[in-house]
Symmetry: C2
Subunit: 146 residues, 2 copies
């Protein structure tokens, strides 16, 4: 029995990594081309705030499955761009609540449309049953690794 040769190109890791990078880059480009100074990572935060405005950094970190320093610095950058505000909580001074600014709120429809368009581009000509299966597999991968 010959030892199976490892081939980077055929591996789940590489395919995932590359597809993910292409998608983030495409979304960034779509945002940029439409005149929105928002990155994919910032969009993830904005999405959470569109679901519910005024969340703690900790909540945002948990929901987006990333660590607190990342959120802390993302919020810094988003404040610079005028997308959100960081309001210290009076009752518990450890806590910051993050709120959309008017500017951030006004972008919702446009950014959502661009995100949907990007997903459509990415899933063009893919059988919807197979896409469903792929999404389930990705869920299982996430479950296995978390």
């Amino acid at each position: 029995m010959a030892k199976e040769k490892y081939l980077l190109d055929d591996s789940l890791g590489y395919k995932l990594f590359h597809a993910s990078r292409l998608m983030s880059n495409r979304l960034n480009k779509n945002f940029r081309d439409a005149g929105f100074d928002v990155t994919y990572e910032q969009w993830q935060i904005l999405s959470r705030l569109y679901e519910k405005d005024g969340q703690t950094q900790n909540q945002l970190a948990t929901k987006n499955e990333r660590d607190q320093p990342s959120v802390s610095r993302l919020v810094d950058n988003m404040i610079k761009r005028g997308l959100v505000a960081r309001i210290s909580n009076k009752a518990d001074k450890r806590i910051n609540l993050i709120y959309l600014t008017d500017k951030g709120r006004e972008m919702e429809n446009s950014l959502t449309a661009l995100a949907l368009k990007t997903i459509e581009d990415a899933s063009d000509s893919i059988d919807s049953k197979e896409l469903e299966i792929c999404l389930r597999v990705l869920d299982q991968v996430r479950e296995n690794l978390k």
Copy 2:
């Protein structure tokens, strides 16, 4: 007909992004825990050199589907860690050929085993037919976006 609400959590982009990040992080951790000071991105370069030693940065960039600055800096870091050497080509002085060092070469089996283990962990309990479909879908996504 109600407008479909966009949900980040259900989107292809988010699932891809998150699964990919988890996998890179897991592989990095597996390398680190085993005492190898190698990142996932560096491993991608090493893999190409295991296939064929002595490639130009441009070839490495093309094969790994990333831009030249990334490869240039990855190679810098890999030289720092003693994994590869950058040899200027006499016939065409614009070209650098990247070669594995002994240290880099000796790691092949261990790193490959760790990469395979990571993929096994990630695909645990996933039906092999469905995994196949997922890989095909990922290929199509890459094709659609490149």
